[in-house]
């Protein structure tokens, strides 16, 4: 299909600000009378606050006040707290001090005498599950949607850590198919235990916030992935009505899942500002970002997988102990199970899940939460199966790969469409797989070549959100985007579905975004790879509403019936006599004159409260197109990717070098090629970090985190990745999206993680580490034949 805007590159309006430095992030804002807050965070992994004596600090010149847990929104364990009297991890914010500047605030923090009573703690889920194991919280140690305690028998613990089939009770379980029959039908059964690291999100922009109150409304300048989606949650957290919140988040310096919606720090300055009667700026330090900035859920687990002689996955039994950190989290285990269910289409499957709290940094969704951890583990198992069955790694994946008849999850629901076989074929051809695989295991001095292929999946679309477009009498098309600017340009790229439907020039379009004051519609969260699918739909239905209204107006002004009219070249014209036409500007002027639904004085009943307020904000300024996305969706919207990699692993140093990498996306019609390329390459960099570098280490004796800086956590640097990474896309339209597009952000990482894990294994003759990250020390220990330092299934460790 030929498009005007879809599949074409464009310059998103925020680019200029980013490259010139004029972009304004939350901490770039300043208002008269602004004071600065700093946090006092817990030095203990679990404690009760006995006393806070701030008299000396509050008496200091330039100190304006203190904010404690009593001053803020109360929550129930294990929900995140703004400030707490029962800190549950080192770095948990206990109180804040505001002063004339940050130095004075820090000086004041030093003067506050805090008395803490230490409480039992654990930084390892399995330690907590032991018969007398410590619980991370007073209310218990597991969170299967409610807090309670769970302790295994000593034998259960022993079986689990030694990699045998777990017998410990698991509070959550789902399954489908006949598992026993699946294994009976298997010619090959593999059993592996595994660990994946739950490392920090490491947003480049720490979550700084400015808040002040004006005319009864709370203004918040923050850093979030989403825009409109944040509003109801932040309003609730601040204890105000949505209409009384002004939320500005025009730019976001990375969130990666940790800034999806309203997080606790976002509300602290609002409370402090109200208490002091002054604007309050809270800038989070890099170290604090490691505390309050969230981390990925860690896995300790066991997998049993059955394969038929031909290589079909006949059954998968998956058991996962999740490290949820110290607060409410979860869902990763079930998502991991879901990913296996779609990528390999097993005949039968079971997932058992033990979600355990630990006194470590709070966890939250991180790019491909669950899907990407399991990709790192299960894809090398696919290679092991291929080796044992004498199959090619791409061939065994192709044999199991989902197509449009695929089913997934416990309910074995359908997908909107899927073309994974085509993605594998495309990648294998572009990468020259059949020749490349011959290099597997080739030695060059101390280096050995490893070849890998990895697959990634994440559900990639939602529905039911609102779109809003406006055409003003000057002929300009205003595209109101409630999508947050999380760095993917999707806030703008998705509005191009409206521009496409309106057949208008992009140069005549103005994208409104980044502030509630811009009158933005209700939108989804910018996470879960959903924005492309979800908001091309919402923009499309809003444009369709505008077109319907333009035709009505044309019929009213020029005569005839609406269906006699069509649009082109920013005009509404009579199909039988194109000379009879109105410009978009003329139609907009008429809409203002007519009022009612044409100019936003009335609106559809089914649009969200946020959208209703947005429409009210622009009513009477032009022709308004507004609608809720009620288009049909036939199933889960899959985002799929494949990564192909060649590495050289140095057996003497344990270091690997990525020689070549190719990513192939299966995301429907390509919406924005440069944006997609950024997603695929950026996801790959992240994936390389998960597979080979990034750490999350705690001292188990003191509950202290070892990684509170970039250099300690080790995200990949420019010289740790290949200078060039190729990409491609299958580019077959998804039938459930008006422009054929689906999202793909998260699997782009998972497939790269998996590919690198597979290549590391390939270079070592098929050895499975069953662990992320595979760092140089792990390789050196393996090659030199000495055991690994870490204990079996140990997590939050080196």
């Amino acid at each position: 299909m030929s498009y005007l805007h879809i599949g074409k590159n464009f310059t998103p309006p925020d680019i200029h600000g980013k490259v010139t430095g004029k972009a304004r992030y939350a901490e770039d804002y300043s208002v008269d009378g602004m004071v600065y807050a700093r946090l006092y965070t817990s030095p203990m992994p679990h404690a009760r606050v006995v006393e806070i004596d701030a008299d000396e600090a509050l008496a200091m010149e330039g100190v304006f006040g203190i904010l404690t847990a009593e001053d803020v929104y109360p929550t129930e364990a294990p929900a995140p707290t703004l400030l707490t009297n029962e800190p549950v991890y080192v770095g948990d914010p206990i109180f804040a001090i505001a002063a004339i500047d940050e130095k004075t605030a820090e000086d004041a923090l030093k003067k506050v005498r805090v008395k803490l009573e230490p409480l039992p703690f654990s930084v390892d889920p399995v330690t907590s599950l032991k018969p007398d194991g410590p619980s991370a919280r007073l209310e218990g140690n597991i969170y299967p949607r409610e807090m309670r305690s769970l302790h295994w028998s000593a034998e259960d613990v022993e079986r689990f850590v030694t990699g045998r089939e777990p017998t410990g009770p698991a509070p959550s379980e789902w399954s489908y198919g006949d598992l026993e029959a699946g294994f009976d039908n298997a010619a090959l059964i593999l059993e592996e235990s595994f660990v994946t690291t739950g490392y920090a999100h490491m947003s480049m922009e720490p979550r700084s916030v400015l808040s002040y109150w004006q005319n009864g409304r709370c203004h918040v300048h923050g850093s979030t992935q989403s825009q409109s989606f944040v509003v109801p949650f932040l309003a609730r957290m601040l204890g105000i009505e949505q209409k009384d919140l002004v939320f500005v988040a025009e730019y976001c310096g990375g969130g990666f899942g940790s800034k999806i919606s309203a997080y606790p720090v976002l509300a602290i300055p609002g409370y402090f500002s109200k208490k002091l009667g002054r604007p309050v700026m809270l800038r989070i330090t890099r170290e604090e970002e490691y505390y309050v900035g969230s981390a990925r859920v860690g896995f300790q687990g066991w997998i049993k997988a059955g394969f038929t002689r031909e290589g079909r996955v006949s059954a998968v039994d998956l058991y996962i102990v999740q490290d949820l950190g110290s607060q409410q989290a979860g869902g990763d285990a079930s998502s991991a199970g879901g990913a296996i269910s779609i990528l390999y289409q097993p005949d039968a499957m079971r997932l058992r899940d033990v979600p355990v709290l630990t006194n470590t940094t709070p966890r939250g969704p991180q790019r491909g939460p669950g899907q990407n951890q399991i990709a790192a583990i299960f894809e090398p198992m696919m290679d092991k199966a291929a080796r044992e069955l004498g199959l090619d790694p791409v061939a065994i994946r192709r044999l199991n790969a989902p197509d449009s008849s695929a089913t997934l999850n416990a309910n074995q629901g359908p997908v909107t469409s899927a073309y994974m076989k085509e993605a594998l074929d495309r990648g294998a051809e572009l990468f020259g797989w059949s020749e490349r695989i011959k290099k597997s295991g080739q030695r060059n001095g101390s280096k050995v070549t490893g070849i890998g292929v990895g697959q990634g999946y994440h559900s990639a679309g939602a529905n039911g959100f609102d779109g809003l477009v406006r055409i003003t009498p000057d002929g300009r098309i205003h595209l109101h985007s409630g999508v947050g600017n999380l760095g993917t340009y999707s806030y703008a790229a998705t509005t191009r579905a409206a521009a496409e439907a309106l057949k208008c020039n992009w140069e005549n379009c103005i994208v409104h975004h980044g502030s509630t004051e811009e009158n933005l519609p209700w939108s989804s969260y910018q996470a879960g790879s959903n924005t492309t699918f979800t908001h091309t739909r919402a923009n499309y239905v809003a444009a369709e509403d505008a077109i319907r209204k333009m035709k009505l107006i044309a019929a009213q002004v020029l005569g005839g019936t609406p269906d006699q009219y069509d649009i082109a070249d920013e005009r509404v014209f009579d199909i039988g006599n194109a000379a009879r036409s109105l410009t978009y500007g003329e139609v907009a002027a008429k809409a203002v004159e007519l009022g009612g639904e044409f100019s936003g004085e009335t609106w559809p009943e089914d649009i969200h409260e946020v959208t209703q307020r947005a429409v009210q904000g622009i009513a009477g300024t032009g022709l308004i197109g507004v609608a809720k996305d009620n288009l049909p969706v036939r199933g889960t919207v899959p985002g799929l990717t494949v990564g192909f990699i060649e590495i050289e692993l140095d057996l003497e140093t344990g270091k690997h070098e990525i020689v070549d990498f190719l990513a192939v996306a299966e995301c429907g019609t390509v919406l924005h090629p440069l944006g997609l390329a950024g997603q695929l390459r950026g996801g790959a960099v992240w994936g390389f970090g998960m597979a080979g570098l990034e750490r999350h280490v705690y001292d188990p004796q003191n509950g202290l985190p070892a990684n509170v800086g970039y250099y300690q956590t080790r995200p990949p640097t420019y010289l740790d990745i290949p200078a060039h990474m190729e990409w491609s896309a299958v580019d077959i339209a998804d039938p459930d999206n008006p422009v054929g597009s689906r999202g793909v952000g998260e699997p782009a990482m998972g497939s790269a993680t998996a590919a690198l894990m597979c290549a590391l294994s390939d270079a070592l003759g098929g050895h499975l580490f069953n662990r992320t990250p595979v760092t140089p020390d792990v390789v050196v220990n393996h090659v030199s034949g000495q055991g690994q330092s870490h204990g079996p299934l140990a997590t939050n460790t080196f």
Binding site: E106, Q701, L704, P716, T717, V778, S789, T797
Partner: protein
């Protein structure tokens, strides 16, 4: 406790002569802090884990900058010369490629632009417990968190532990020891010279310092003698990342060969003990042997002989051995 991030108040002195700097440093004693490029300093101060009352900034002292030839074919490098200059300088590259290579592997381009050679050899250890500001032996307390039953000590020492198990983080220190460099130190009592091999001190000598420098001392220059100029060199730093990382293990090696056999050798490992570790048994063993794979294979195990790994760092022993193999193979 909090994650401090703002520079606290302190006095700042910016002398323009070494004599004035030494006098200030002497007067301030342990209350003072000598500032070079700041790449180690600012972390300590902004974290409020060290609490000097005044800083003596050496950046305005011109004589501390630059690289010059010395009589007898050696080179003198001002302590405030940046790591970038050291790594790019034609004279250093031509005569002492080992040092140029080591300087080029420090941290990142930004840090090498700001960090100095004097600062690189004088920097404090990166033991993460110590850096958190905990009251460990090195910080004047009476415990080592890293060397405890469950201590997280992947990056710590496998040699020379004495209550403290921290390692020297300096990439250039190994090269300077291998090249028999001399450290020039000035204080109010005058100028004295210390061999690089004696400049770095372990915890058994002084548990709160990494070098012989005491309050009042200013490291003014590093002198490289002609002895090891134009030798055969090998430098390698194994770190998790290729930029902005500290060594897991590094090696700096210099060889003099004659008629295909090694006449003299220096092999020094970094990040395995609190000081750069001369591999003297390897050095002795390779004399008279060709520089090749089989020699490497024959002597490699001597490198880690006597190592006492902790909970998480026993990989360092085979890695040391492997780096010796590579140094002899290259």
């Amino acid at each position: 406790m909090s994650a401090y991030d703002v520079m606290p108040d302190m006095e700042l002195f910016q002398p323009v002569t070494v004599e004035d700097a030494a006098a200030l440093a002497e007067r301030l004693g342990s209350r003072g802090w000598v500032l070079a490029g700041g790449q180690d300093t600012y972390g300590w101060l902004k974290d409020r884990a060290k609490h000097p009352k005044a800083m003596v900034d050496l950046s305005s002292i011109d004589v501390l900058n630059g690289i010059e030839e010395t009589d007898g074919g050696g080179v003198k490098i001002g302590a405030m010369t940046t790591l970038r200059e050291v790594s790019r300088d034609q004279l250093i590259r031509a005569r002492y490629g080992l040092l140029a290579a080591a300087a080029a592997r420090v941290a990142s381009p930004q840090i090498r632009n700001q960090g100095t050679l004097g600062g690189n050899v004088s920097q404090d250890t990166r033991c993460w417990y110590y850096r958190r500001g905990l009251s460990c032996y090195r910080a004047g307390g009476n415990i080592c968190y890293a060397d405890s039953p469950e201590g997280m000590n992947r990056e710590h020492a496998i040699f020379g532990a004495s209550r403290c198990v921290a390692v020297s983080p300096s990439d250039t220190a190994t090269a300077l020891v291998a090249l028999d460099a001399t450290m020039v130190i000035q204080n109010t009592r005058g100028v004295h010279r210390v061999a690089a091999g004696d400049f770095f001190v372990g915890p058994a000598v002084n548990i709160t310092r990494m070098t012989v420098l005491r309050p009042g001392d200013i490291l003014t220059a590093i002198e490289l003698p002609a002895d090891w100029a134009h030798a055969e060199y090998y430098f390698e730093k194994v770190a998790d990342r290729n930029v902005w990382d500290f060594a897991l293990v590094s090696i700096a090696a210099a060889f003099r060969t004659e008629n295909g056999t090694i006449r003299d050798a220096r092999l020094v490992c970094g990040a395995v003990s609190c000081v750069p570790r001369r591999l003297t048994s390897v050095e002795r063993a390779v004399i008279g042997k060709p520089r090749n794979d089989s020699t490497g294979e024959a002597v490699a195990a001597l490198a880690s002989e006597g190592a006492r790994p902790l909970n998480y760092n026993h990989f360092k022993a085979p890695l040391m051995d492997n780096l010796v193999r590579r140094a002899l193979r290259a």
